[in-house]
Amino acid sequence: MLWKNTINELLKIATKIRSYIGIGALTLLIIIVLFAMIADGKSYIGFVTASFEQTLSFNGKILNGNLIAFIIMQMLIVHVPLLISLVTGDLLSGEEAAGTIRMLATKPISRTGIVLSKWIAATIYTLIMTVWLGFLSLFVAKWMFGTGDLIVLNSNGLLIIPEADLAWRFGLALLIAFLALWTVATLSLAFSAFAKNSVGPIVSTMSVIILFTIIGTLDVSVFDSIKPYMFTTHMAAWRSVFEDPYPTSAIWESVLILVAHIAVLLGITLFRFNKKDITS
């Protein structure tokens, strides 16, 4: 029954226009970035290497598909959560707003089953968005710009990662990015269990992300103790995959914290929905 209900939920997602807004916006954003890089990518590279160009010359294909993919991922991982929550924030509250929640509850499936099927559907939608992001940023960018070594900027300077060492890094980065987006999807589903319309969960999800991100970037010691436990701190964990040496323990820590958030948020959603009065 859970599986059947999950398919129903996926069909519901597929029939809603807002589900395509995310994919469409993602596609459009990536096309704009690709166009910008075709038009003015060299000046972007100049900005990256300018500090060294008086003394050193950089040879080889710096502006390549791998760099574009990295730039796209860096830009969009911040914005994709909004596109995800547009759909996942509507999953439970949308039923309440449309008045279909009681009909849903009459089905031979427990309330836990209803929440789990919606959560699995949200997970699949998030996975599709991540795969689409990966496909556009990696394959299309590589097809347009060719391949090559990757220059990564960080606050201590430049790191050049050989092309042969990139496929697994991008794969792992997308996997961690998916985990971060899955956390956001579960968060908006949790908000959705508390709301009667879909605007509240979407706005609340974005507000939490913005608030936590601001706290995370503030160099104020009073927040130092909570920063490691905020999921937004670990949403950028995929970038750590492009460090050398590769910080395995830090990445595992981020993965565990994100998984813990998903588990706790799902638990809250289940608790709330099971206790929710849907009769009035």
Binding site: Q54, T55, S57, D149, N154, I160, E163
Partner: protein, 227 residues
């Protein structure tokens, strides 16, 4: 007796004391002129502050007088000064004046220092100190002071292509200015660790190891056309 022996030694040019700066340089230039063109494989190993870069492999092409190209599949970092521009600069004797300096032993090679001052006020090179083995007519060290790149020191090692004055190894020591990357454009926004502390000017080294030289085999001008 000692003074007589010293006199004979000086006359024989044992340390190049009998030669003028121009004569010593001419020996080097003659060797450079033997090379019409060359191509070689090069392995680039860079240890530069603020940059972490793997060992890169590239192919270099040179054609008289000043055509030079680096072809690399990956990203290769090379010094801006001292690759081919020095030989081009030395070949044009009218553009500089040379002053003979002290004798110095570099890596067991007895050399004489020639200080080269450009006569052109717009020259990128402000001063070039070149340590030349007078017995081999080979440059073993160059210290270039340039307008935009600071000081670049180059040590040379030779092997199979000594007769052309083409090194099999060049070690560049370059000045690297302090690098500041705004956190907003850096990739590790989540990283709140303190940045590594560097001095205002750090030294970086780039070691180029050459192999598979092909000298005077002819290289088409098309090779040097920009991609």
């Amino acid at each position: 007796m000692k003074s007589v022996l010293l006199f004979v030694f000086i006359l024989s040019g044992g340390f190049g004391f009998g030669q003028t700066a121009e004569e010593i340089l001419k020996g080097v230039i003659d060797k450079i002129d033997l090379v019409e063109d060359y191509q070689a494989d090069v392995q680039i190993k860079a240890a530069i502050p603020f940059i972490k870069v793997p060992i890169a492999k590239a192919k270099i092409y040179f054609k008289q007088k000043d055509k030079f190209k680096v072809e690399s599949k990956g990203i290769a970092i090379l010094p801006k000064q001292g690759m081919s521009d020095l030989t081009g600069f030395l070949s044009n004797e009218k553009k500089y004046s040379a002053v003979l300096g002290e004798a110095k032993t570099i890596n067991e090679h007895k050399t004489r220092l020639i200080s080269i001052l450009p006569t052109d006020e717009n020259s990128e090179i402000i001063l070039a100190k070149v340590y030349i083995s007078t017995s081999e007519d080979l440059i073993y060290r160059t210290v270039l002071t340039t307008k935009s790149s600071g000081t670049v020191s180059i040590d040379y090692e030779y092997n199979l292509n000594k007769k052309y004055g083409l090194p099999n190894k060049m070690t560049f020591t370059v000045d690297i200015k302090k690098f500041k990357m705004p956190k907003s454009v850096a990739s590790d926004i989540r990283n709140n660790d303190k940045q590594k502390k560097y001095k205002d000017n750090e030294k970086g080294t780039i070691v180029l190891t050459f192999s598979n030289y092909l000298v005077n085999k002819g290289i088409s001008d098309d090779v040097f056309k920009k991609d």
